[in-house]
Structure formats: structure tokens, C-alpha cells
Point group: C2
Chain length 147, copies 2
């Protein structure tokens, strides 16, 4: 099993504000996929729609202002069964986001792509909360020929 | 051992141009550290200077237009002995860069930071070659309270 890891800091933002951007459709559609649907409570499934494809995330764990954990229940084959987790920690006026997309079977080329792309989307989350403007799909920053 | 992985595509750029940006002081200082010194041949050491600290990379392998492999010989404790590799592959008019920073002992919080930061610097490499303007240290994109 191999994992994608990231760390971003959201300046002058409390952990509860970051948590809200990870647990509401309005928040999620502001930094990851503009077209986001479903329910965000524990046990529910959130659908993230990207052009021709999409990803369904089952919400496995929610700890207010501390942790959001999803399991991928539909999407790219390599993603199914993997977990995405956001751990939040307030540090002075900032909030640190520790991110992991874990449980990849193999470090395939697509995993390299997804690692860079998650970094770009986490920078979009940071930007949304610091400036009011994120860059969710389809206005996301393009990194390569896979998008 | 755990690894940082990334993938970026440099549009309308041949692999030899990307290779040059990874194997000359001028190229490296255009996207990673403005203050870069040393020699870039196999067996030589390149010094990358970041404010108070720095990283010394020994050039282990060079395959023109295909691969650049460095070993970290000085720098942050967690980096020493790890390897950084860039594999290049031309794809039509573009060049795909597969990146790995491998051999981390543990997935520590600093590794999460470095993963995101490498993504930002690879986007700087892409930007340098596509637009003529990179964002090397100290003009790099800040991601968190560690920079």
C-alpha cells in the first residue's frame, strides 16, 4: 500500500472554518468540484462530478474541527476502496491541514498525477478560505495532459 | 521506505529542453532555488541554497533527455540518503515529467510538507518552460507556516 501525502496551512483561519469547507456541499464545490451533490453526514455519499467521470465518497468519520475521512466507493478503478483523510490542527491563527489519500495498491503513473493534482486542489482550498476564491474543476489548474 | 510522487506535463516542450532545465545551474535556478551553485556532471555536487538552510545533491545518474537522479548528501536530516529522480518522456509535443523523492524512512509531517512543496516547484518548472517565468525560492509559492 502506498499513500499520497500533503500539508497546507490556511492563514488566519480557524479549524472550524476549514472543517466547514470539507463538510458542506457549498464548501466542497468552492475548491474541488463545482458540481458536487449528495449528503455530507456520516454514512452518506457525496458525489463529485468531473466532466465525463466522477468520484463517490462515503463519509466514514467526522470529528468537528479535527478530522474528515472518506472512503472511495465509486470512481477510477485505482481509487476504489482507498481512503481520503483530512486532519486539521489549529496553530495560532492558522489551521494546518494534513492530507492523505491512502491505500493505493501500486505507485502507478496515475498515482503520480493524482498526487500533484491533490496538491493543486489543496492550494485551491487554501485560496478559497484566504481570498474567497478557489479554483475548483472545471476552473482548476491544469498540470499535465491528463488534466 | 515511503516516497513522494508527482507527474507534470510541460506543453509544447521537447524532453531535451526539460533535461537542460534539470542539468544546468541556469535552468535549476529558474525554477527551484535562485541561489544554486556547484557542478552538474555525474559525481559532482550541486548546492541549492534556501535562506538559512540548503540542500546538497550528488548527481548519480544522467541519461540525456530521459533521466536525472540525485542523492541527497547534505540538508534536512530526513532528506539525507534519500534520492530524487526525474524521468522524462516525450508525448507528442509535450514532455511528461515523472518525479519521485524516494527513500524517506517515515511518513513524518515534514514529508507531507515536502510533497506539496515539490508539487509547487514542479509547477514552477512547467511555468518556466512554458512561459519563461518560474517561481524559484525566494519567490516561491508559500504553502504553509513552514514556507
Amino acid at each position: 500500500m502506498v499513500n499520497i501525502l500533503h500539508r497546507v496551512g490556511v492563514a488566519s483561519t480557524s479549524a472550524d472554518v476549514v472543517y466547514e469547507a470539507l463538510t458542506t456541499l457549498e464548501g466542497l464545490s468552492g475548491w474541488w468540484a463545482s458540481d458536487t451533490s449528495g449528503d455530507t453526514g456520516v454514512g452518506e455519499v457525496i458525489g463529485f462530478h468531473f466532466g465525463p467521470g466522477g468520484i463517490d465518497m462515503k463519509v466514514v468519520e467526522l470529528r468537528p474541527s479535527e478530522r474528515v475521512l472518506w472512503e472511495v466507493v465509486d470512481g477510477p478503478e485505482e481509487w476504489i476502496g482507498t481512503e481520503v483523510v483530512f486532519d486539521l490542527r489549529q496553530d495560532g491563527d492558522d489551521t494546518i491541514v494534513l492530507f492523505a489519500h491512502r491505500g493505493w495498491k501500486e505507485p502507478v503513473e496515475f498515482m503520480h498525477h493524482c498526487s500533484t493534482k491533490w496538491g493543486v486542489f489543496l492550494m485551491s482550498l487554501k485560496s478559497l478560505l484566504e481570498t474567497g476564491k478557489g479554483a475548483p474543476d472545471p476552473r482548476d489548474v491544469k498540470i499535465d495532459n491528463w488534466n
